[in-house]
């Protein structure tokens, strides 16, 4: 009766450009290997067969920042490593997102001292914080899905350069 029945027969679907762009960004977001410490092991466990992250589009982890769109900072960031993190973040092409995985990346966790950067958001802007020490692989997957919700809600007018 309505236009949907006619169109379905002809093989046409209607949508908005934003939805298509956001859908393609979330369905194959490749993270960059940035495992620093203990959270890296849980990230590897999330990538392995029991809690499979490639169901969510993260098929492989690229070591090169030029080929990835997501940086999962997994582990504690020391002051010596901070410039390296910033340089790698700058080398990633737009659009890029950052997940701070674990307590040490979010707020330096158990360690409140001279050697660690107190939260990765002093160096790079973070989109999603995943709590836990280390967070369970399911928690990391929940963080990733939260990031997907955030990306699906992105509008073009926020990204426009005036």
């Amino acid at each position: 009766m309505g236009i949907e029945q006619k169109l379905g027969n002809m093989g046409i679907a209607t949508t908005t450009l934003e939805t298509v762009v956001n859908w393609s960004r979330t369905n194959a977001m490749w993270p960059m290997l940035f495992g620093l410490a203990c959270c890296a092991i849980e990230m590897m466990a999330a990538q392995a067969s029991h809690y499979d992250m490639s169901r969510f589009g993260m098929e492989l982890m690229r070591a090169s920042p030029r080929q990835s769109d997501l940086m999962i900072v997994a582990g504690r960031l020391s002051r010596k490593m901070a410039p390296v993190l910033r340089q790698l973040y700058d080398q990633m092409p737009e659009p890029k997102w950052v997940i701070a995985m674990g307590d040490c990346a979010s707020c330096s966790g158990v360690f409140n001292n001279y050697a660690l950067v107190q939260g990765v958001d002093e160096i790079v802007p973070v989109d999603v914080y995943v709590a836990g020490c280390p967070p369970r692989p399911e928690a990391l997957i929940h963080g990733v899905v939260t990031l997907y919700e955030k990306v699906k809600g992105e509008k073009f007018k926020d990204l426009a350069v005036t």
Binding site: L36, A37, C38, I41, M44, S78, P83, R86, F111, P134
Partner: protein
């Protein structure tokens, strides 16, 4: 602070050969972030084509200041930080720290707690070697081994979660015994694991041990003889693969290890393949120990009776005034330790893990120093890698089995 500076060659001039300064050999930075380093390790390589002339490790990218931070906390609260050192062997770190504290304040541990500590430490050793195997396979481009190993590791992490509620950083061993008794499902879970695991080890061996690609890439690569190993302080599977039969569980037994009957696998070649075989054999020996400990598990109390150091059970707090006072003093102030120092070492999957603990008469330690095995094991790399290719360097680094949390503390 957040700007990288241009690397200065003057820092390394005395370490590289003269050919590097003229430009004949190439100085390449295998940087902190790289798919085949086991953590954030920076290697400065001097290459002549593909051959490595010099290899200078640069560590400190994961320095966490754990030793200084432990001085600011009481003995019990500092134990939380000890898990995060060698994060593959978390319960082993807890065991090393707790044994040092018990030696310092002279606290006895009941046999049931000792047996459970042995079971969990050996399971942790199996878990650590599984990650070694996975990373070794991954570095040599055998990716399926990685997936198999992590499947087994899930079973061990489930057992840890059963006992303590946490998969990795458990802090389950406390000075004087354990945090809580193991639940009823513990024995069934461990026996189930022991039933399925031996066949899996045989599976890994069929995948890797006779594989011609692995043999080509690892036999004769990275030889380490006993004298060099001892000079560099390398212990654990590195020393045992070179020929010296030295295991702290047999030589200086702790926590009841003298009751269990097991062998210490040793090889004589000292190359990468020997280190791999030693760790595969250690799987089987650890399973033997777990089975014996589980069969002989005695009934009894979990914690020592000494209420000056071990908090009383909560059921007593309502009825006994002394228990309430002990509980209060322990949680607000902590227990005091004498003004002396001890050094206590255990055998971690990487070598000798030692704790130098010095008390100052009060509730906080004067100095906690961790003698971590990966620090000394890594210092052998400069000798082992000379003359090999870059691909061999990756295999050798995988076989040393370093954990950067251990090195940088």
């Amino acid at each position: 602070m957040a700007q990288l500076e241009e690397a200065n060659l003057d820092l390394y001039k005395h370490l590289v050969s003269e050919r590097a300064l003229t430009g004949e050999t190439m100085l390449l930075n295998m940087g902190p972030q790289h798919p085949s380093t086991h953590g954030v390790l920076r290697l400065l390589l001097e290459l002549d084509g593909e051959t490595v002339i010099n290899c200078i490790p640069d560590i400190g990218y994961l320095h966490t200041g754990i030793e200084k931070n432990m001085e600011a906390k009481t003995y019990l609260k500092a134990e939380v930080m000890s898990d995060r050192l060698d994060y593959m062997n978390t319960m082993g770190n807890n065991l090393a720290y707790v044994l040092a504290v018990e030696k310092l304040v002279e606290l006895d541990v009941p046999p049931r707690a000792q047996a459970i500590r042995v079971i969990l430490t050996e399971l942790q050793r199996i878990a650590s070697h599984l990650v070694f195997l996975g990373a070794f396979g991954l570095d040599l481009a055998a990716m399926s081994v990685f997936l198999y190993c992590f499947r087994e590791r899930e079973a061990i992490l489930d057992i840890a979660e059963l006992c303590s509620g946490q998969r990795m950083m458990t802090t389950y061993f406390r000075p004087g015994g354990l945090w809580r008794d193991v639940p009823v499902e513990f024995e069934a879970a461990v026996r189930n694991f022991l039933k399925i695991f031996p066949k899996r080890v045989d599976e890994y061996e069929t995948l890797l041990t006779k594989n011609p690609i692995l043999l080509d890439r690892t036999v004769g690569i990275g030889k380490l003889d006993i004298a060099t190993a001892l000079q560099h302080g390398a212990t654990g599977p590195m020393l045992r693969a070179s020929g010296l039969n030295w295991d702290l569980r047999k030589a200086r037994p702790y926590s009841g290890y003298e009751q269990y009957d097991f062998n210490v696998p040793t090889r004589t070649e000292g190359d990468t393949f020997a280190r791999y075989i030693v760790r595969i054999e250690e799987f089987r020996e650890s399973m033997k120990i777990v089975e014996q400990a589980l069969n002989k598990l005695p009934m009894g109390p979990i914690n020592s009776d000494n209420r000056k150091f071990v908090p009383p059970p909560r059921s007593e707090l309502g009825v006994s005034m002394e228990s309430l006072i002990h509980h209060f003093k322990l949680w607000t102030e902590g227990f005091p330790a004498p003004k002396a120092s001890v050094y206590s070492a255990v055998e971690s999957p990487r070598g000798e893990l030692g704790v130098y603990l010095e008390g100052d008469g009060g509730p906080k330690p004067q100095r906690v120093h961790w003698r971590t095995p990966s620090f000394d094991n890594l210092s052998t790399i400069e000798k082992m890698v000379r003359g090999h290719l870059v691909a061999d360097l990756v295999a050798i680094l995988a076989s040393i089995d370093i954990v950067l949390g251990d090195i940088d503390r």
